[in-house]
Symmetry: C2
Subunit: 424 residues, 2 copies
């Protein structure tokens, strides 16, 4: 099915300010790209296959800029700690298990099956330190039809002996081996994934920079998530002006390839300015930031300052795999930010949150997250009729309701880069 | 089916501090009450009907202390305002429609059908100012097997002409007519429901006190939800020390009958002390308090001070009808309260939030919300196996996962006061 059209109630956000919609219309996919949207199919598409989803919402596939695949096992459990103790208590013991490929297969199959049936089309995924299990995860993600990036984690200090790479050189060698085995993939591509500065030695960071310069790999890591973490980085890099400056010192802050930083809850103006200058993406993960008592990121400021911002579940800091849910989390926390932290920063609107979860994060992956002509064709079909009401909501209201109230089983079909991933 | 047993994985919170559970056990219902929990059924129950839910979670029916039934139509829409403008823009125009019984029937059927299939067993419901439509709502709630309270709303000032009672006397007369027609009900009982102080004249409040003194009716209203509202009450009742003191002045603060106040976000120590003294219940509605940018209620302080606290969805300030979801909202906002407002107030644990949504609010309705011997038999059966994991979570972890991740269709059966409400 190379070229086809979907018919239904089409909605998307070319800009954050407002939804654009076309009720009872056609969106055409040619060679994996969006050709356009029409009320009546133009002559030149006569004979094209039409999938009739009349009365259903059709919106761009969602983009999850930050997920930890191995943490999916313990999502929704152990919500009683802050970041650093949570890592020691729940995360490291679980991630260590993925050295066992049999366990990895079992756990990653559950994760990728659920991801396949979600509204998410693009992902940035952290695996574990294990190269082989990371390849396995990439296989399963591709089998699930997903697109995006996945990375073998680097960490060589400040972590327990049972889950730590021997030293910087071993970490980098293993990264090279893994990279060589996956470098030609186009569905799920490799990405450099140092866990975060506290668990990566200076030597490791310096060598990863060299890897990035040689390969052009994109990079993902964590930034300014938690006050204790921020303090720790000050101790570990006393010469740094701020947390992001420490990454920048090692040339790992968008200096040599596209980069996304998760959280940025405590990113002050200086840090944000440097992110802006380097084109670094923010993966805003409001649900995780609630669950780990981290705080509320200054997303309105980031948007005003022109930073690239997208959304992330941060599974399993976040419990839900749904970016629709994360959109509403983003709106909700922005209201508390306004109420308690800065009344000059107005809360996010529904369209702004939707934009972050689609086109905002989508640009990390290319021309993704919108239905404008020339975008990659990622589309989700959702049946919102089970969300009953005595009213007759318009398209925007229906989309907002879907964000707040839709359930997994309402998702009827998903297309990624023009491929049908599933259909109920 | 008068006496029966459910078999499965039973979990509840006799106290907030921890879950109590009994895996693969029997809970027996006799004449609508809990007889006890056993690993093997005692001799005296031989021959009793056993419903086998092995491997499923069985927990007490959830208690929603605060819902506006007529607002269900616009749940998940219009999340762009604070309380007072939200009332004017979305709420009053919608509630006004319920003077039309045909519309009320259509809308209330949707609401009560969804409530029936939820995990909620007990409710405190606000209807509208319309007596007949309120009776209709009570009929439909009873038909759905629900128990609790529903009230005709009183409001005679500071609201638009199209949705306002003529004057205090008319409001009270209509309340008497409505009360007479429903006073003998035992499933859904009447409750006094002045909207909130700003929309109720002094004369109305004084007369409602007399109604309460004569009838012994319970009462529900709103308290200290939003800063603008709190300021307004200061203007309307300049003689009052604080918002709750204004209700107390009219003898409508638990002085003459059991009383529940929704929100209490801005209830300071004095107000809380008076609530404690009068035995007034708090309906904590964290999801609504996020959506309407209201703020975060000091729930830890309330619990430490021994106040009665339960949870409410505050439909449609809250978008979700699920008290499981509200439990996790309560945990999440308590983390932001700790982070930004008072680090002496530790966040709620999973068991504490569960307690609030069951036994904490349940005592408003009687001996409800727990599985101790002698409690009214309200039970929910939930299939958590679709929430897949490679791990083997224990009972508490499974319950926490169900709070964060279960979907409507996972609810397999519900029993209220020993009656089977539905079974899949």
């Amino acid at each position: 099915m190379k070229n086809f059209a979907l018919k239904g109630d089409i909605i998307f956000t070319p800009t954050p300010e407002k939804f654009q919609s076309a009720q009872d219309s056609y969106i055409v996919c040619e060679d994996g790209m969006v050709s356009g949207i029409w009320k009546e199919l133009p002559e030149r598409f006569s004979g094209i296959r039409v999938l009739d989803y009349s009365g259903r919402l059709i919106f761009p596939g969602l983009c999850d800029l930050h997920i930890h695949a191995p943490q999916y096992s313990f999502r929704g459990m152990g919500m009683d700690m802050e970041l650093l103790s949570w890592l020691e208590t729940y995360t490291f013991p679980e991630e260590a298990k993925y050295g066992d490929l049999e366990y990895a297969q079992k756990a990653y199959e559950i994760f990728t099956n659920d991801l396949r049936k979600s509204a998410t089309s693009r992902v940035n995924v952290f695996a574990t330190i294990h190269g082989e299990a990371t390849v396995l995860l990439m296989d399963l993600l591709e089998k699930a039809g997903m697109r995006g990036f996945a990375g073998k984690v680097n960490m060589d200090r400040n972590c327990p002996d049972y889950y730590k790479e021997k030293d910087a050189d071993t970490s980098v060698q293993d990264t090279w081996s893994w990279y060589e085995s996956v470098k030609d993939r186009t569905g799920i591509r490799p990405i450099l994934s140092p866990r975060f500065l506290p668990t990566c030695s200076d030597r490791l960071m310096e060598q990863l920079k060299e890897v990035q310069k040689k390969t052009g790999l994109y990079m993902q890591t964590h930034l300014s998530e938690n006050p204790g973490e921020v303090e720790w980085v000050k101790e570990l890099a006393p010469w740094s002006e701020f947390y992001g400056d420490a990454y920048d010192h090692f040339g790992m802050f968008g200096n040599h390839g596209k980069t996304v930083m998760a959280h940025c809850v405590y990113s002050g103006k200086e840090e944000r300015d440097l992110m802006s200058k380097r084109g670094v993406y923010v993966a805003h993960c409001p649900q995780s930031n609630l669950n780990l008592s981290s705080g509320i990121a200054p997303v309105r400021a980031m948007m005003e300052e022109g930073l690239h911002v997208g959304l992330g579940t941060d599974m399993a800091g976040g419990a839900s795999l749904s970016i629709l849910r994360v959109m509403t989390d983003a709106v909700q926390v922005s209201k508390m930010y306004w109420r308690y932290l800065d009344q000059d920063k107005k809360p996010l609107s529904a369209s702004e949150a939707f934009y972050l979860g689609t086109k905002g994060g989508g640009s990390f992956f290319g021309n993704v997250g919108s239905f404008e002509q020339g975008c990659e064709f990622d589309a989700v079909v959702l049946n919102d009729t089970p969300i009953k009401t005595a009213l007759d909501p318009d398209m925007e209201q229906r989309m907002e309701r879907a964000m707040y109230l839709s359930q997994n089983e309402h998702i009827m079909a998903k297309y990624i880069h023009g491929q049908e991933v599933f259909r109920r």
